[in-house]
Symmetry: C2
């Protein structure tokens, strides 16, 4: 089994080397065996695990949540339903964020529409809205 140094792992997983050590400190990546001189020696699995973390992050999971997923996976009683529940909770989370942003967008669009875009800033309806209105 070929072993990777931390630099090789970082390169393959396309993350910063310091990030690997950071994930180890956070418990996201297990402490690997060391070479005689104390170098971390990773198996191939570490690349997959690091990529897993990056994919989950890209889907909106925090590092804490990713830790929880790994922990879940290690418990023998865990079922697929538990994992599905996590994903469904995250979907709701994302949907809430989208709804919040839609509201913000509506308010911004309404403000922009009130402004002809000409004239001095002293009479800008946008600034007036920010100074006086409830949004």
């Amino acid at each position: 089994m070929e072993k990777l140094t931390i630099g090789q792992l970082a390169k393959r997983a396309k993350v910063n080397l310091e990030t690997i050590r950071y994930y180890e400190r956070r418990g996201l990546i297990p402490e690997p065996p060391r070479s005689e001189s104390g170098y971390r020696m990773y198996s191939r699995d570490a690349v997959a695990r690091t990529e897993f973390i990056k994919r989950a992050q890209a889907l909106g999971f925090s590092l804490r949540e990713i830790s929880e997923i790994f922990a879940l996976r290690m418990e023998p009683e865990t079922t697929c339903g538990d994992m599905k529940a996590k994903v469904e909770a995250k979907i709701e989370d994302i949907e809430q964020k989208i709804a919040d942003l839609e509201q913000i967008r509506e308010a911004l669009v309404a403000m922009a529409e009130k402004c002809r875009g000409k004239g001095p800033i002293g009479e800008c309806p946008i600034l007036e809205a920010l100074y006086k209105n409830n949004i």
Copy 2:
């Protein structure tokens, strides 16, 4: 003209007292005149300004951007169009965030649908997708 202490300002603008001092350090609120004993004495305008900051923040503007808006307002050549441009840039920004979240949502929904929600975690299609797929 009635003057407010920092505590009174914080209460009326519904922010933490430390936040007022923080905004002063960031240059968002001008340094107010002091009483003989060195207390900050604010005019009514400070309440409106603090509320402006909070409203703009709620619309997705960062404190840095809010500073820029205040700076813009002080320059005599600034027109309403400059302000409108800021709002339109923010709308694009928000729309991009919404689009990103929609994509994430789609990916999560697709993953959840692959999972029947039963059986051991070892065969969970969600975990497999995170381990192997490009998303």
